[in-house]
């Protein structure tokens, strides 16, 4: 444990800078998007499930499609369950050279097998940033069995099972970090909550779990399940660098409860989410007890679809009881317990289902620990994401309703990193210092989904 912590805290500032930028790019690119294979399967337009005709934020109709295990259909036989997405991005970081590259090529295997079975898997080939090389990984996975149109106490009841690879990814309201990929890119050390998934060694796509869920009377959602981490050899085969291993997790329990109300012109939800696990990171090290508890609120004004406003707020608290209290290089001893706290607030306005502006405030903070979090022992991060995008297609009255193009401009800005607003890597006086704003980046991208 000590050596691991030391490795992290002694990393060179440049490496950390790249970590921040890599996280930034991940945030803007890996969110699950509208999947044209589903549009072909259902006859629906992209805009029926996603306010901005491209995703990832779901409309109430999109939520029902997800809850129904991706099995809804127009009844016109079996469709080819494949879709693709290509993304070209020009990134201009505040510090460092600009770059333009085909940043991501995705393959979706998505569709229904029967009225009860459906799901999707996303395979991502992402630009590594070096020498025109790409790394291919199995990204999101969500396979479902669902029993629909059941009755419980005379009310409609849906019962399902989801096998997925990221706690919270199967969230029907689609506001949890695993579903939105929206979270603060955190600093050095074991920062970020397990459910927040924005810190290093987070469980996204490196675990596998099964959850049983139910929807009662169209409004009450409940889900319980468990996860286990994939062996590092499997992570490696799936394309992941094992340095990002979330560790060996055991005795993991997950729950999610939400009240969702679809009023056709408006929608709101109130939810809670929780996870408890024992994590060994590294796998041969002592076991840390993690307990995450979060709540979330969401609201959508949908109206006649011309002006859509979507708000979401997620607040996740993580209590940690560490399995060891290592001594740092300066002789200080790590704390036996700690608390981390991730919050995201997002507001999106969409005009005519084609023009969207999203503004998000992301912050992470926690108990100061001089040994675990470097260089100041402070894990606090504050960032903002501002995205403007245009989607010319994906609506019923557009050239095509089952494929789309997305032109977007994104500005990601940091106002606090590693707990400070200046010299974020703590370099000695006289060396080149880095401010949070040096991690900022502006990017323009074009994505096509087909």
């Amino acid at each position: 444990m000590l050596s691991f912590l030391n490795r992290r805290t002694m990393r060179r500032p440049k490496m950390l800078l790249w970590c921040g930028l890599a996280a930034l790019l991940l945030l803007s690119s890996t969110a699950a998007q509208a999947i044209p294979a589903f549009a072909r399967q259902t006859g629906s337009a992209c805009a029926d499930c996603h306010a901005g005709s491209y995703g990832p934020i779901l409309t109430p109709y999109g939520m029902r499609f997800k809850l129904n295990g991706y099995t809804d259909t127009d009844g016109h036989g079996t469709k080819i369950p494949l879709a693709g997405q290509l993304t070209e991005t020009h990134t201009a970081p505040a510090r460092g050279p600009s770059s333009t590259a085909l940043t991501e090529a995705d393959l979706y295997i998505a569709g229904r097998i029967s009225d009860q079975f459906g799901g999707y898997a996303k395979v991502v080939s992402a630009y590594t940033g070096r020498n025109n090389t790409y790394n291919t990984t199995l990204s999101n996975l969500d396979l479902r069995f669902v029993a629909k149109e059941l009755k419980l106490n005379g009310r409609d009841f849906t019962l399902g099972v989801s096998v997925n690879n990221s706690p919270g990814f199967d969230d029907p309201v689609d506001v949890l970090p695993a579903a939105t990929s929206l979270g603060p890119a955190t600093g050095s050390g074991p920062t970020g909550t397990f459910l927040g998934q924005s810190g290093p060694n987070n469980p996204a796509n490196r675990v596998i779990g099964a959850n049983v869920y139910g929807l009662y009377d169209s409004n009450w959602y409940g889900e319980v399940g468990t996860y286990t981490s994939l062996p590092t050899s499997t992570q490696d085969r799936l394309g992941y660098n094992i340095s990002g291993d979330p560790g060996k997790i055991s005795d993991t329990g997950y729950f999610r409860f939400a009240y969702m109300k679809d009023m056709k012109r408006q929608f709101f939800s109130v939810g809670v989410v929780g996870l408890t696990t024992k994590r060994q990171l590294p796998r041969t090290g002592p076991s840390d007890n993690l307990f995450d508890l979060g709540y979330d609120l969401s609201y959508q004004f949908i109206g006649n679809r011309d002006n859509i406003v979507q708000l979401s707020y997620v607040n996740i608290l993580e209590k940690r009881k560490y399995g060891s209290t290592p001594v740092g290089p300066t002789g200080l001893t790590a704390l036996p317990r700690g608390v981390l706290h991730d919050e995201t607030l997002s507001v999106t306005y969409t005009f005519k289902q084609a023009y969207s502006l999203q503004v998000a405030h992301l912050q992470s903070n926690g108990t100061r620990d001089a040994v675990r979090f470097g260089p100041f022992g402070n894990p606090d991060t504050t960032a903002n994401l501002i995205t403007l995008f245009w989607t010319p297609f994906g609506r019923e009255d557009s050239f095509t309703s089952i494929a789309n193009l997305k032109l977007s401009a994104t500005w990601f800005r940091f106002t606090k990193f590693n707990g400070v607003t200046n010299n974020i890597f703590g370099v000695p006086f006289g060396a080149v210092q880095t401010k949070p704003g040096d991690l900022n980046a502006f990017s323009v991208s074009a994505s096509v989904a087909f």
């Binding site: 259902t42 006859g43 629906s44 029926d48 409309t59 109709y61 809804d72 259909t73 127009d74 009844g75 016109h76 056709k264 012109r265 949908i302 109206g303 006649n304 679809r305 019923e396």
Partner: protein, 129 residues
């Protein structure tokens, strides 16, 4: 006198025909377009030949039920061989839960309780042909 008599007869006949006719629903088709977007558009298209989870509603007013050839209707609706989607029938059908109006239907709809919105919607659907 004869002309006056004929005129009165004609007026009476016209008035009688008007009174005997089903009450016209004074809906606002423009407002109905918004109601359609809110209530129906996720599952139904107004484009001819375009079926979603539900069948296309192009030309639905006046159409015999379950007659779009390439849509897979429920057995329940197929059995309603005497149903024609007149404004009155649509009004009755859409004002209550679909499962109540047509037990066995595939359609999942709780019904539209706002009478004005229903009239507006039906007026709008009447224009889609």
């Amino acid at each position: 006198m004869t002309k006056l008599f004929l005129g009165l007869c004609t007026a009476t006949l016209v008035l009688g025909w008007v009174l005997a006719s089903p009450p016209a629903r004074a809906g606002d088709a423009s407002a109905g377009s918004d109601v359609f977007k809110t209530e129906c558009s996720e599952c139904h298209s107004i484009k001819e030949g375009r079926n979603k989870k539900g069948p296309s509603l192009f030309g639905v007013v006046g159409r015999k039920a379950a007659t779009i050839s390439d849509y897979e209707y429920s057995d329940a609706l197929r059995s309603k061989t005497d149903w024609v989607w007149t404004p009155e029938k649509l009004h009755s059908y859409l004002s209550q839960p679909a499962k109540q109006a047509d037990p066995g239907t595939k359609m999942k709809y709780d019904g539209l309780s706002d009478a004005k919105q229903l009239d507006d919607l039906i007026s709008y659907l009447s224009t889609v042909h």
